[in-house]
Symmetry: C3
Subunit: 208 residues, 3 copies
Amino acid sequence: MGILKPSSRDDAFFQLLADSARQCVAAAGLLTQMLAADTTEREVLLPRLKDIEHEADEATHAIIRKVNTSFVTPFDHGDIVELAASLDDCTDAIEAAGQMVVLYRMNGLMPDITAQMEVIVRMAQLTADAMPRLATMKELPEYWVEINRLENEGDVIYRTLLRDLFGGAVTDPIEVIKHKDIIERLEQAADCFETVAHRVESIVIKES
Amino acid sequence: MGILKPSSRDDAFFQLLADSARQCVAAAGLLTQMLAADTTEREVLLPRLKDIEHEADEATHAIIRKVNTSFVTPFDHGDIVELAASLDDCTDAIEAAGQMVVLYRMNGLMPDITAQMEVIVRMAQLTADAMPRLATMKELPEYWVEINRLENEGDVIYRTLLRDLFGGAVTDPIEVIKHKDIIERLEQAADCFETVAHRVESIVIKES
Amino acid sequence: MGILKPSSRDDAFFQLLADSARQCVAAAGLLTQMLAADTTEREVLLPRLKDIEHEADEATHAIIRKVNTSFVTPFDHGDIVELAASLDDCTDAIEAAGQMVVLYRMNGLMPDITAQMEVIVRMAQLTADAMPRLATMKELPEYWVEINRLENEGDVIYRTLLRDLFGGAVTDPIEVIKHKDIIERLEQAADCFETVAHRVESIVIKES
């Protein structure tokens, strides 16, 4: 409620949220690289993905510490914490998918995994672009409408992958379990970005 | 907090929430029909399920838009948005189960799936009946107690299904994966209705 | 906000939360016993686990009723309800894992399951120790930092278990599905304790 008057002090919050979102972009970029790599290269890339996940944790705790020590915050304390937590969940989900790709020593990933991953990369980028706009509360509906559209696009790809997987693309049951797990984890990562968009929408509603 | 004095303006919120809950009822009814149908018929019915899911999305956004443009709301802005979102999750979960039934070209569904689905149908109906009662905050404990009871009933059916599934009712591992997925998605749909009931309980506590 | 002045009336809330957390400890202890037992003994122990889960439900409802009838609560009504609900989720998750161990008639559990379970036992104990400290809001960061550390430790064990499982420790695909399910449910139980810690952190931030 009330008129939002972002000050230079407030800006630090949006910078920290943007930092966290940039870790999502970095994680999505690295996972894209890992999916295209062979199993040996993936193991080399994995520690960098873990580092990004760790940096995202740091960014999240920096936000929480700042909320903790600020009398004035640009919007409700709890909302900032929840938004930061949901951004962190995105990076966690991408890292978890990367861990599984290595752990399962995945060979012959289904080609549409690339399309599923591209949707996540675009969601991450849009999220990173949107965070600084929280300072002015402008052009945010465009962001969440596009995230919702991408989530639907991701859903269609996800279902196509499952149909192909169970339609005979993979026949060894243990391989089917592994592929299904990777596909579902990428779908969960996409869902995490949708949750971030829902939180942004909810904040905009409260503040307007 | 304070005494709730619902006005005619407030009533629109309860109507919109009831609209969304009616989409849950419609989705549960259609999925019941689909489970009883053969694979060809199911493909014919699926687009109607997708339409219901889309209408539920519209109902949810109508609620959010109304919250957005209303100065006075019957209870906390954020609580209405979260309640609407959790109702939408119910329809989404039912639709997702329907998508999987078609996608997996399920044959020979286990008979107890019908019992599991009946619990969901009753949860949806109770939820739709309860939404208008938010206007008066009356007879709501009966609703959430009964939802909790049904959720427990659904749990027992879910576990029986899993025991039978792994007890030899299905022997092909890939078929086991598919059946387990359908059974779990229906269990998740039941959980979504429990979340709605928890949110209603939480709102009643806040407002009382 | 404001200075927290816990009175004797407030103390009852922390006692009730501690009661609920003690059910988590009891459930974790019993599940540890069940994992070490044979299939016949497990079936004998399961009803006691269900009783604990039921007592945790009672504790949760006692908290909600008390919130409902208290004009003054030590912190925000909704936060108490959510904290109580997340504690209840921990016991539910442990009970659900126990149900599955019995239902799947698990034989030859992987040895590292014991290590995974030990992490959960320690998380439950730390949580029960922390609840009374909510009265003074002291020494809580130590609690959530240690929970986060344990959650990471649990993650590593979880991934090792999955690597071994898919690395040939179990070869029958249907057995792989069952083991994976148990391992994932224990991981979910650990995640539930992390959620409790996040809620505590969020309450401390709000109140400070």
